[in-house]
């Protein structure tokens, strides 16, 4: 009984790890795709002083016009 429970727990942990790994990769790709759509560089340089994102978007919009 104890061993079958342990084995079930191991299976659950394994499945959770697999799902989480696939989820992380998919979420990162989607996140970057959305940011690219928004015209942001996706550099994540972290500085709110980095005006790169907004200016790139404006440039693209101007180019479209």
């Amino acid at each position: 009984m104890f061993f079958s429970l342990l084995s079930a727990a191991g299976t659950v942990v394994t499945v959770v790890i697999a799902v989480a790994a696939v989820g992380i990769v998919a979420a990162t790709l989607i996140f970057h795709f959305i940011r690219k759509k928004q015209g942001k560089t996706g550099c994540g340089c972290g500085c709110s002083g980095c005006s790169g994102c907004s200016s790139h978007r404006e440039r693209k919009e101007k180019a479209k016009k």
Binding site: G10, A18, A21, T28, G44, C47, S48, C50, G52, S55
Partner: protein
């Protein structure tokens, strides 16, 4: 929503005020030209929320560089409800020049006398009420840094925004007032907005205005023919500027009273410091010493080389300098004091982070094993997820220490001096000091650095600067250097160079390469004159604790965000590719078994490209696991931190071979590199590792930086820039590997360089000129 624009001279404190008003953490620096694009935030302490727009600093509304155009166009076209003109009160007369120009636009306006606390401290006085009467605009005394007078400023701006305001000029009584008035009436008749501003600009023969209003320009031309005044030889722009300054000095400057005690001829503290720090001879050596001190305190393991001099730290057993009898306690004590000596601040934080990640990694591994997770799932979490992320995170404290020092240098005003002293040294080689500002910013991140090149008026200089910015090792590349140099120092214990010296030399090498490459481009595709460099040197001031923390918080956020998104995802993908073969069979093995990674998809891909890296010392000459270096270099293109996380993931996967050799150092990034050096299956040499570092420093930067550079370059130049990065990194890394491996090859490399230099010298003197025969068709 109401919209207020912040306009003023560079380095007058606009961004500091913007941060105070909106609660933002925008980058502020003690040098002119930090802001190159407008940014928005919201002020919520009035009865209605107000949008605040921070504009790039400008000296006048006559645009020369792209960011000056942004400021001018915003005020004219976007019609803000109020312009808050930030005036540096310590430099009143020069700052009011822009005020006299904005006044001519039909927009509500308030003048903010910033840095009033500094004026008061110096003993000077500014009569704000008298200034207000003279200018005819609300004037508020503020200190953006100390957040004084901000509420009053916003209330008066709000009140001003409720009323319409018509432009007013200080040129009323000047000899040009007649033509200005005539043109203004003509423009108003046509329904042109801001007629007074456009009339003055037309009189100045502003290029943009001449193009937009050719009919009115004829009126100016007619006036010019009749006008008799040879003082400025018909240069109306100079005449207008002169009239403005005359008016400012006669009317506005009276509001300023200099302290009686103040000896006008005496040197200020900044002047005295500059006598030493910007000295013609000692300026550059002092900069190099300061830079070395920064690297020593960040990457050194022996504080002030005390142990190297006095030799007090001894191995008392198991590699520890202190033996308490408890392994965990010994490991904790060695964070601060090891056989290398007393740790530097950077080393303490690095060791501490390594200690924490090691303990956490151990807990995770034990937990998964006890939970009975599958072997492959354990490998994925231990090596793929935790290994990759922890590898990068363990360097975060050290990088933060590095950025703390760089921020101190920036905020104190020293970095602006660096541009000045480098300009003096490198002008004759084709580089202006203005270009050094974005390059120095490249130490942080290449993305904002590339954007800052917009402040360079000369297109060729802009292209060259964008190309060499990645040579200035950014925060993401720093862990590569730290890990590799630390690994070399840990493996070759008898080596005379310590890790901090090696990192410093590599940083310096990047800077030297940037200068050499600019010189090379100046002689080939980018020939031309060096643009003049005029920069206002800001006064030195003690770095603000708040600003420093904001910089560090930005960096920390950046690392954490990247570690848990792109690096985490990349580590998982790399783990997957290194643990599965083309038949989708899992190759993960339990601890103690022989690794099967050489059957993996990643092995096949990496091995396929190994021949390219062979001349650089990390290709076919390596052992069966040598391909990990090729894979690491390629994953670095996504984000440079990936290089380290890739080492971690792959070292974990081939752990039976590598970590067994790593011994006590076990899991740390430095341990992994030392283990690679010790492992015959990897077969890397220190020469190959240095070449690997050089290649990563000079090659194509991460995707984000490359995309930003593409946006900043003129059309068609990006593909050449990619070729430039690839070729420079390949040739330099190859030369480094050859010279360090076989010393005599240094003569061949030196001879080749001498040939190129001799060619350029002779060509410039006109003694060599290659004429290629033109084809008959071309001749016809």
């Amino acid at each position: 929503m109401l919209k207020f624009a912040l306009a003023g001279n560079p380095n007058s404190g606009k961004t500091t005020l913007f941060n105070s008003l909106t609660g933002s953490t925008a980058h502020v620096g003690n040098w002119p030209g930090v802001t190159v694009d407008k940014r928005e935030g919201t002020y919520k302490k009035l009865s209605v929320p107000v949008a605040i727009v921070d504009l790039p600093g400008i000296y006048s509304l006559s645009p020369y560089t792209p960011e000056e155009v942004i400021s001018r166009n915003f005020i004219l076209d976007e019609k803000p409800d109020c312009v808050i003109n930030i005036v540096d009160a310590t430099n009143l007369e020069r700052n009011l020049y822009l005020t006299t120009q904005i006044m001519e636009i039909d927009v509500p306006m308030v003048v903010a006398l910033n840095m009033i606390d500094v004026v008061k401290k110096s003993g000077d006085k500014i009569d704000a009420k008298s200034l207000e009467t003279q200018i005819g605009l609300p004037v508020v005394e503020i200190s953006a840094l100390k957040e004084e007078g901000i509420q009053e400023l916003m209330e008066r701006a709000y009140a001003a925004a409720q009323k319409k305001r018509e432009g007013k000029t200080v040129l009323e009584g000047s000899p040009l007032s007649h033509v200005i008035n005539d043109v203004r009436i003509a423009l108003k008749g046509k329904g042109v907005e801001n007629p007074l501003f456009h009339a003055v600009k037309l009189t100045e023969e502003d290029e943009l205005e001449v193009k937009d209003h050719p009919d009115e320009m004829q009126m100016v031309e007619e006036f010019k023919k009749q006008f008799r005044d040879d003082t400025f030889e018909g240069d109306f722009e100079a005449m207008v500027a002169d009239e403005r300054y005359k008016y400012i000095s006669a009317h506005f400057s009276q509001a300023l009273t200099h302290s009686e005690k103040k000896d006008q001829g005496a040197l200020t503290k900044s002047d005295k410091a500059d006598r030493v720090l910007t000295h013609r001879v000692w300026g550059i050596p002092i900069f190099i010493v300061i830079l070395f001190a920064v690297f020593h305190l960040t990457f050194g393991e022996d504080l002030l080389y005390l142990n190297a001099i006095f030799g007090f730290a001894k191995d008392v057993g198991d590699g520890y300098a202190v033996n308490t009898g408890n392994d965990v306690l010994n490991a904790f004590v060695s964070v601060f004091y090891s056989t290398a000596g007393v740790s530097t601040p950077g080393a303490i934080l690095f060791n501490l982070m390594g200690f924490i990640t090691d303990q956490l990694g151990g807990l995770i591994a034990t937990g998964l094993e006890n939970a009975g997770a599958a072997v492959w799932a354990q490998g994925l979490v231990n090596d793929g997820i935790w290994g990759g992320v922890a590898g990068v995170l363990s360097f975060v404290p050290q990088i933060l220490v590095l950025f703390l020092f760089i921020s101190i240098l920036e905020d104190s005003g020293y970095m602006a001096r660096v541009a000045f002293i480098l300009d003096r040294a490198f002008r004759k080689f084709g580089l202006s000091g203005r270009a050094f500002i974005p390059m120095i910013m490249g130490f942080g991140c290449s993305v904002p650095a590339a954007i800052n090149t917009r402040t360079l008026a000369d297109e060729k200089e802009r292209i060259m600067t964008n190309r060499v910015i990645p040579f200035f090792t950014c925060g993401a590349k720093a862990p590569i250097l730290a890990a590799v140099c630390g690994g070399i120092a840990a493996h070759y214990t008898n080596m005379p160079l310590s890790a901090d010296v090696l990192v410093f030399l590599l940083y310096l090498f990047g800077m030297v390469m940037a200068v050499l490459m600019v010189m090379f481009m100046r002689q080939t595709s980018m020939r031309g004159e060096v643009a003049p460099f005029i920069m206002e040197l800001p006064a030195y001031h003690a770095p603000q604790f708040h600003n420093l923390m904001v910089h560090l918080w930005d960096k920390l956020k950046h690392y954490i965000k990247k570690a848990f998104t792109i690096i985490l995802a990349s580590s998982i993908v790399i783990w997957f590719l290194s643990n599965f073969n083309w038949e989708w069979e899992c190759l993960t093995v339990a601890e103690g078994e022989i690794s099967r990674m050489n059957e993996s998809i990643l092995h096949d891909i990496g091995s396929f490209f190994m021949w390219i890296c062979t001349p650089m010392g990390f290709g076919l000459q390596l052992g069966q696991y040598g391909w990990v270096f090729v894979v690491a270099a390629v994953t670095g293109l996504i984000a440079k931190e990936n290089v380290i996380s890739t080492f971690y993931v792959l070292a974990g996967a081939i752990g039976v071979t590598v970590l067994g050799v790593a011994g006590e150092d076990g899991e740390s990034g430095i341990g992994v590199i030392a283990a690679f050096l010790a492992s015959e299956d990897v077969g890397i040499t220190w020469q190959g590792l240095i070449a690997f570092c050089v290649f990563n420093m000079l090659t194509v930067p991460c995707f984000a930086a490359a995309a930003t550079v593409k946006g900043e370059l003129p059309k068609g130049k990006f593909r050449w820039t990619i070729a430039f990065w690839l070729l420079t990194s390949f040739l330099t890394a190859t030369a480094i590997y050859l010279m360090f491996t076989w010393w005599w090859t240094a003569f061949i490399v030196a001879a080749l360089i001498a040939l190129v230099v001799a060619y350029f010298i002779l060509r410039n003197k006109g003694k060599i000129n290659f004429h290629f025969k033109k084809s008959k068709k071309l001749q016809e």
